[in-house]
C-alpha cells in the first residue's frame, strides 16, 4: 500500500465549532484508484471531515494535501485549479430545481470551460449514459425519483472527468434496492474510469459493497483503519456495535442525564 500514489493526505487535522472539538487530530491517506469509506455514527465528524477535504471548511489546524498541494494554504485562484481535479456528490443530490437535467450537468462545463454548446450537449449524453439515464435530458429534478436525482448528481460530479470523487451519504434515504443500484454504480465507475473515491456513509450495507478500505470515526478521532475484512473481523467493541447497529455498547448516542437539572436552574 505504501508504494501506491497518495492522492489525499490529511495531517493532524483539528476542527471545532463553538468550542466543541469535532475533529481531533485526524491523520489519513487516500491512495490512487481506491474507494475509501469513512464511516461512523451521526455527529462523529465524518461530514465535517469531508467538508474540510473539499475545501468548504477550513480546519483550525493541520494540513490537507490533494495531489501534493496543501489546500488549507491555497488562495482562491490556486484552489480553483485543484477544484477541477475532483467532483462532489452531495447527500440529497443538490440539483438546481429550476434547471433541467442537462442544464444541471452542463452548468460546470459552461462556467469553467470554453467548450462549444454542441460539444457540451454530446458530453452530457455520454455522462447520462454512464449513469443509465440517457433520454432524461429535458426532465426537471421534481419529475425524477430520489434514486434518479442521485444518479444525475453523480453524472454532474463526473462532468469535468475528475480523478477524484467525493460522495456524501450517497444512499441515505433510498430504498434498499435503489441504494444497491447506487452502490453498484459507484463501484462500476470507480473501476471503469479508474476514479479515486472517498465515500462518507453510515450505511453498513453500502460499506460492505463498495469499500476497498475503511476508516471509522468516533468522537472526532479515527478509531480503526483497514481493509474491509479487517474491519469486519475487528474485536473492537465499538466497531462491532456499529456494524451490528446495537443501541447497547460502548458507543453512547444519548447524553447522560447528569447535570440536566442544574443546567435548567442555573
Amino acid at each position: 500500500m505504501e508504494n501506491r500514489e497518495v492522492v489525499i493526505e490529511v495531517k493532524d487535522l483539528v476542527k471545532s465549532f463553538n468550542g466543541r472539538v469535532i475533529l481531533n487530530g485526524i491523520n489519513l491517506k487516500v491512495y490512487k484508484g481506491e474507494t475509501l469509506v469513512i464511516m461512523g455514527g451521526s455527529g462523529c465528524g465524518k461530514s465535517t471531515l469531508l467538508r474540510n477535504m473539499i475545501g468548504t471548511h477550513r480546519p483550525d489546524s493541520g494540513s490537507i494535501f490533494i495531489k501534493g498541494n496543501d489546500i488549507t494554504k491555497l488562495n482562491e485562484s490556486e484552489f480553483d485549479k485543484i477544484r477541477k481535479i475532483y467532483g462532489m456528490v452531495f447527500q440529497d443530490a443538490a440539483l438546481y430545481d429550476s434547471m433541467n437535467v442537462e442544464e444541471n450537468i452542463s452548468l460546470v462545463l459552461c462556467e469553467h470551460t470554453k467548450l462549444d454548446p454542441d460539444i457540451i450537449s454530446i458530453m452530457v449524453k455520454m455522462k447520462l449514459e454512464l449513469v443509465g439515464l440517457r433520454g432524461f435530458e429535458k426532465f426537471m429534478p421534481s419529475q425524477l425519483s430520489g434514486g434518479m436525482r442521485r444518479r444525475v448528481g453523480i453524472a454532474r460530479a463526473l462532468a469535468m472527468d475528475p480523478e477524484l470523487v467525493f460522495y456524501d451519504e450517497p444512499t441515505a434515504g433510498l430504498d434498499p434496492i435503489i441504494a444497491g443500484v447506487i452502490d453498484k454504480l459507484i463501484l462500476d465507475l470507480s473501476k471503469k474510469l479508474q476514479i479515486t473515491s472517498v465515500v462518507v456513509t453510515h450505511d453498513m450495507k453500502s460499506v460492505f459493497a463498495i469499500a476497498d478500505r475503511v476508516v471509522m470515526l468516533y468522537d472526532g478521532k479515527i478509531i480503526a483503519e483497514g481493509e474491509m475484512s479487517e474491519i469486519k473481523n475487528s474485536e473492537d467493541p465499538r466497531i462491532k456495535q456499529f456494524i451490528t447497529g446495537s443501541p447497547e455498547g460502548p458507543i453512547q448516542f444519548l447524553q447522560s442525564g447528569d447535570g440536566y437539572l442544574d443546567e435548567l436552574t442555573k
Binding site: I119, I120, K127, M160, D161
Partner: protein, 110 residues
C-alpha cells in the same frame, strides 16, 4: 497537443500528438471544422501519439463523425493506445466509430 495534416491520394490524414482534453479539444475542433466545411470525403485520424482523451475530446470526435456522415463522408480512427481504446469501450463509442489498428488498414478499401 499538436495536429499534423497530410494527404494520401484522396485521403486526408491527421496525426495527433499529445493529450486531447478540455484545453486542447477546441483546437482539434477548429481543424475538423475546416475539413467538414470543405466536405472532405475520406478522413483518417491517427491517434498513435495520444495517451489520453477526455470526454470533451471524445465528444469532439463524435461531432466530427456526425458532420462527415451528414454529407456522405467517412471518418476512421487508427492506432488507439490501449488506454484510449478502453475509454472508447467504456463510453460504448467503439461501436460508433470504424477503428483500425494501423493507419494503412484505415486507409485501405475506403
Amino acid at each position: 497537443m499538436k495536429i499534423a495534416q497530410k494527404q494520401n491520394n484522396d485521403i486526408t490524414i491527421f496525426d495527433i500528438n499529445g493529450d486531447i482534453d478540455i484545453n486542447s479539444s477546441p483546437d482539434m475542433r477548429e481543424v475538423f471544422e475546416n475539413i467538414a466545411n470543405a466536405k472532405t470525403m475520406k478522413v483518417v485520424v491517427n491517434l498513435s501519439g495520444v495517451s489520453y482523451v477526455d470526454s470533451s475530446g471524445l465528444a469532439t470526435l463524435v461531432e466530427m463523425l456526425k458532420k462527415t456522415r451528414s454529407y456522405g463522408g467517412k471518418l476512421r480512427l487508427a492506432n488507439l493506445a490501449p488506454k484510449v481504446k478502453s475509454l472508447f469501450e467504456i463510453t460504448k463509442l467503439e461501436k460508433l466509430f470504424d477503428i483500425f489498428d494501423t493507419e494503412e488498414e484505415a486507409g485501405a478499401n475506403f
